[in-house]
Symmetry: C2
Subunit: 680 residues, 2 copies
């Protein structure tokens, strides 16, 4: 029996270098024993306070004492896009502020720095104790969460979020210092940052200068960031221990087999179909003019990025070896629970409850994808319609997204001055409705409400031509005018949103009652069961919150040979010439003509075994001394199954080398002001 238990335990002992660890439970012993390095509280605090979350969906780090924030070009891309116009294309041409005065305010970027964390599991558990069924428990949990968040916000003035870890095994309160005055300092040309385009995305060897610099302001002045990471242009040597501190978005490593199967059979195929349709619509739109191409470029980038990532996940779930491994893990976990009567009685039915909820979820999966207009304006309209109703309710009873602790960030986004292109909106709505019509029943009430007898194109034209929601001032008036103003509005987007709102709410309620409440309750039990069987020797699934991963710089076996630990500028020119400089392998003229200024042997990109995933983009790579040695910008193609499993043999994080960033800033961009600030 002892042996069996040991075998079971070893089945989930994490692999070497695996894991996206919370800062409160870092793998200190593992790192000590494998690498002889001790993580101190001081080191962890320094790294945590130097790390930032960018709410466009990435990570970053402070690299000077004056709020200079390093992230990826592709994380900065949305703000660059929103700051560009027909005259200035900062995506295509890049941007460099030659003085502080030239730094451009990003329209709607929020940056968070994690100040403290607190385990509130006991308080949530106490609040849900008297619930008689999953529905009651769900409501009680939501209420308790909203209370804790509101109380913390009030007390500390910090953004306060409850984070669910270990599928509900633990609840934590995360408090962030929040910044919303973020300015654009530097971005290279998109073609320098994203050389190789969609084909090279998520692959390695790679040759990308995927960097951008923001500066964080408060009260119109750069903030002080004493805990910045010192720039080390030597970088990390082959096999050197390095850390990544960032905000991995989401993984499903603790999901049950039923959840993975539903993903594979229902969620991912529809998601991929939808994304590919979106791309086709945008590419058609792009061909109509150069300005249209500029307007759509970032959305195309984002959708293509998702398609490539999700295709990797989808193929992972179709790989029998991977599913076999997951099945095996689950069987062992279930057997361990079944072996102890007290565990069996508490947790034994959780898997089946989740499986049955997944089945229900699958029954309405199409509505989740094909009740969509893919419209920024329609989205804003729906948020305004819901906002004015929700804010009047007690906090604990509101729809997700409208809790007191969330309102400030929500309004920041809703009132963003970023341009909304009406021609682009029309094309997207028409394209999305076309897909909806193709996928849904002809009598679908939701679609009938939108179309009202019109073709998708007619509906799109009338909705977009008639609305004034592209003006932030109109949005502001509606928000401030409350329910009365909204009810009085004749804006066609608002009128439509009001008609659709009950249907949206019905689906949200149905999902809460039939899926979320069941899965949260069962997930929480599985989380506790996992602790009971395996202890807290592992890390929770990613939740777009701050995590630490560790590993070493290391090549890997690839396609019959070895991928090198690093690449150089030589390789950038090789790959460009190998394709005769044809897009996406063309070089910006600054690089092509600047070739002789560069030391071509400068390290450009490198790979490390660190366990990362989407959301980690822009994370710093840090050495033992707490210095910056690289900038995460991607995972290799072999890492895409990392959503479910991590394999040290081939899973690699891909980073820009500090040497290349310094070389480019100095010799190509003449960014002397920044180099000086970076201590070079």
């Amino acid at each position: 029996m002892k042996i069996l238990v040991l075998l079971i335990a070893s089945a989930v002992v994490v692999c070497a270098d695996e894991g996206m660890w919370t800062f409160d439970n870092p793998p200190t012993k593992l790192i000590q024993s494998k690498y002889g390095f001790t993580l101190t509280k001081q080191w962890l605090d320094h790294v945590r306070l130097a790390s930032a979350r960018l709410n466009d969906g990435g990570s970053g780090s402070f690299v000077s004492p004056h709020g200079l924030l390093l992230t990826n070009h592709h994380v900065a891309r949305e703000q660059l896009q929103k700051s560009s116009n027909a005259q200035h294309d900062y995506i295509k041409d890049g941007f460099l502020a030659r003085s502080q005065a030239e730094e451009i305010k990003a329209p709607d970027l929020e940056v968070n720095v994690l100040m403290s964390t607190e385990d509130v599991t006991a308080r949530i558990e106490a609040a849900t104790k008297s619930a008689q069924n999953p529905d009651q428990e769900f409501a009680a949990r939501r209420k308790a969460m909203a209370e804790i968040e509101a109380e913390s916000t009030k007390k500390t003035g910090l953004r306060s979020d409850i984070v669910t870890l270990y599928s509900g095994g633990e609840y934590w309160l995360y408090r962030y210092k929040k910044y919303t005055d973020i300015r654009i300092v530097f971005a290279p040309e998109a073609q320098a940052a994203f050389f190789g385009g969609d084909p090279d995305n998520f692959t390695y060897p790679r040759y990308d200068l995927d960097m951008a610099l923001f500066r964080v302001y408060e009260n119109d002045k750069p903030i002080d960031t004493p805990n910045y990471l010192k720039w080390n242009s030597k970088g990390a040597a082959d096999n050197e221990l390095v850390f990544v501190s960032g905000n991995p978005g989401s993984t499903q490593r603790l999901d049950t087999l039923a959840q993975l199967q539903n993903d594979r059979d229902n969620f991912l195929p529809n998601e991929l179909k939808l994304l590919k349709s979106r791309i086709a619509v945008l590419e058609t739109f792009s061909k109509t003019s150069e300005e249209h191409a500029r307007e759509a470029s970032s959305d195309i980038f984002g959708f293509q990025n998702s398609v490539k990532a999700l295709t990797g996940e989808y193929e992972g779930l179709q790989n029998p070896r991977i599913m076999e491994k997951k099945r095996d893990e689950e069987q062992k976990f279930r057997a361990a629970v079944a072996a102890k009567p007290e565990l069996l009685s508490k947790y034994g039915t959780a898997w089946d409850e989740i499986a049955s909820a997944e089945k229900k979820s699958a029954s309405r999966v199409k509505e989740r994808f094909y009740h969509s207009t893919d419209s920024r304006l329609a989205g804003i309209a729906m948020q305004i319609v819901q906002y004015v109703v929700e804010v009047k309710k007690p906090d604990g009873q509101r729809l997700p997204g409208y809790h007191d602790s969330q309102l400030e960030s929500l309004k920041f986004e809703l009132l963003s001055p970023a341009p909304i292109y009406k021609d682009l909106e029309q094309a997207r709505i028409a394209g999305a409705l076309q897909l909806d019509v193709q996928e849904m029943d002809p009598n679908d009430k939701f679609l009938q409400t939108i179309l009202a007898g019109r073709t998708p194109q007619q509906a799109a034209t009338e909705l977009v031509n008639g609305t004034h929601l592209d003006d932030p001032a109109v949005r502001k008036r509606l928000l401030e005018g409350g329910e009365a103003a909204v009810n009085a509005s004749t804006d066609p987007m608002i009128v439509l949103a009001k008609k659709l709102d009950p249907m949206r709410r019905e689906l949200i309620k149905w999902t809460e009652d039939n899926v979320q409440s069941v899965e949260q309750q069962a997930g929480e039990r599985l989380g506790r069961a996992r602790f009971a069987v395996y202890g807290k020797s592992t890390y929770p699934d990613a939740t777009f919150t701050l995590r630490l991963s560790y590993g070493t710089v290391k090549g890997y076996p690839m396609n019959g040979t070895e991928a090198p630990p690093k690449t150089t500028f030589y390789g950038l020119f090789d790959r460009a010439a190998g394709f005769d400089y044809q897009p996406p392998f063309d070089l910006p003229s600054r690089i092509k003509e600047g070739r002789n200024k560069l030391d071509l042997s400068t390290a450009l990109n490198f790979v490390a075994t660190n366990d990362i995933i989407g959301g980690n983009s822009g994370s710093p790579v840090i050495n033992k001394e707490g210095e910056l040695v690289g900038l995460i910008f991607d995972g290799n193609i072999e890492s895409l199954v990392g959503d479910f499993v991590y394999d040290i043999e081939t899973n690699r994080a891909v980073a820009v080398h500090t040497a290349a960033m310094a070389e480019a800033l100095r010799k190509l961009y003449g960014a002397d002001r920044l180099l000086k600030e970076l201590g070079m």
Copy 2:
């Protein structure tokens, strides 16, 4: 029924760009319709006469009117090794003859140029017609072949070989002009030719200057080669039609499923085990001194090359998708035969006969691998012992290898002045016997005869110390002294060979009677059945005879992205720097220090869809004008399953670009004499 037949036929219609075509049956129509280019007799004759077979196991082409022969460094490697000594290491340091007088005679290289071919199927068929069983047929066929070869040699003075095509569906007489005075003109450093070593072998992107130049002499003068290929340094553009003319060694695309399964289950696992053991022995030997490392280097190279290639084949045969495809093809072929009574009665049992012969073959597979001493000296001894007996028999009754038409080439090899290193021989024999003992029964008679109570090391030491066969004069005396001299010899290698000879002969005879005769006869019938069902719309399996393949320069999908159509010198420096110049990614000082002389954007290697396989190494890549645009040196990792199936999506031939060869000859090697001769 019509539809079924069409479906069947389409199942073996060759893919676009597939095929290693004989010059008598080129795919003229296919090329005309796909590429609008017409192969003329003149074009084919020009290319054929510019092409050469190098009997060390590769191909080459004439590139000047004065017998200058271009091939790969790795094809020239054996002769470079045999011409080197402790003072001059032409492998490591390369070689350039600054004048014709400095050109070094290769010790034992034979070069063949195909002068004519003749279909002799009818004559062979007539000779075997009256045979009552496979054994009789086998003997009659062997006799007829020997007669035809001897008659042709006598009449034309040309080397005359019968070639079995389409598993015996056709027999052809190939006549070659044979050259044996071949001199070494140029070779780069091995590390320039084989940069990336074993890891990069059989992969792409690649950065190798895998070239060498010989010159062919006759009567101590360079031969005239009016049909040489004109050097075109522009090379071929992306998507341009190119041809490869060379001698692919062997493929198994027409093998039956039973043959492939036996390969997979018996042949390949043992072959790989043996090769890995050989490499381990040689690597241990290499560590004992620098001179030992030099002596063993080419053998290690060869064995590693084989391991990588065979591993690719082995994995191919273990790939269910590939086996499923082969199974499907065979089922359709069998169904088509079964559908016509006259075909069924003639050919219907052939598959089962082959399957049963393969089963027999498998029963003695271990002897074929582990009755080996891996010794050049022991091999020579066995050949001498057999030679003196065989030459006295009528030609048609001799062991294979001892027919009149083969004796000249055999003696050329046996009397080669190439050095044989006794310390290396000892290590190899001891290592091989160690493996034999481990794999075979302790009472194995063959091994008992060799060991005679000694340990493998003792046996190796005594055999090697006692023999004088390393002296070519001793070998000559024995050959000329005939059976009497051999019987009188007390040389321990000769004495041992005489004891082992009856056992060797028994296995040869057993294999002829139980496997070869059955498979030849059944194979011949399958060949005819294939013609009856599909016509002669396809190409025969490779037989190390001259073939033409066609295709285009083209990148391919690789590891999530695109492999480029070509690489450049930039990439060479990138990959070297990416591994910190550590072997096998180090650069010869000539290249490292010559970097600034080079135009780094010069095309270095490129890929094309042409269907090639081992033996094609050194083949010219030729454009429509019949000019040289590249030099084949490898296939990519995806091409290793090409032994069984060709897949245009990813199967690529890898070539050195003419531009890189010219750039290196000019700027790194200062080979002005050669450049002038090459017309540059």
